[in-house]
């Protein structure tokens, strides 16, 4: 299970590489969106290894935070206000 956790963390670093390098603004946003979903998987595996249930609660909250952040950034990309 530790090996699987390491593979997920390597995936997170690949996402961070794309977020740093990405030639355009939407590239960075895609990388941050994917990173948000990856963190959910990391939380789930950590909760399974350590047998702590509250990591899944953190994961459920993280899903919604990542979703709302991505929707707000996409609205910014379209050139609209947040109140539209």
């Amino acid at each position: 299970m530790i090996i699987l956790l390491f593979i997920l963390i390597i995936s997170c670093f690949l996402c961070l590489y794309r977020a740093g390098k990405g030639p355009t603004v939407p590239d960075r946003m895609v990388a941050i969106d994917i990173l948000g979903i990856l963190v959910v998987g990391v939380c789930a595996i950590l909760g399974y290894i350590l047998d702590l249930h509250f990591f899944i609660d953190i994961a459920i909250a993280w899903i919604f935070i990542s979703f709302i952040g991505t929707i707000a950034l996409a609205k910014y990309l379209e050139g609209r206000n947040l109140s539209d």
């Binding site: 299970m1 997920l8 995936s11 355009t24 590239d27 895609v30 990856l38 959910v40 609660d57 459920i60």
Partner: protein
């Protein structure tokens, strides 16, 4: 036995996630990257959740993981769709070898 089945499902999910992130690095275009990364990572994370549910059963951990699956399946494609639309309106060009741009035709028809 049921533990081994759960760990195999978790391994499949982690493999999907890794391939999605490699696609995020390797592909040439915003839309290609979005397509590869979103689908693979969504399915991979849901695989991880389902594997944990299989191996831990109807305990607190397993049921919470089962609740996570529809949340991810609802929120992640919605976010990806709005990001793709936003990127197209923002003016990101397609890759040189892309053949079709149906959203552009749709916008020009309106």
């Amino acid at each position: 036995m049921i533990d081994i089945a759960g760990i195999i499902i978790i391994c499949i999910g982690v493999a999907f996630t890794l391939f999605g992130c490699i696609g995020l690095i390797r592909l040439p275009d915003v839309y290609n990257r979005l397509q590869a990364a979103t689908k693979c990572v969504t399915l991979g994370t849901c695989g991880i959740m389902f594997g944990i549910f299989v191996s831990s059963g109807f305990s607190g951990l397993g049921v919470k993981c089962l609740i996570c699956i529809p949340l991810i399946f609802l929120t992640s494609p919605t976010a990806a769709h709005s990001l793709a639309r936003g990127a197209h309106i923002f003016g990101v060009k397609l890759w040189d070898e892309s053949r079709m741009d149906e959203y552009k035709e749709y916008k020009s028809k309106q």
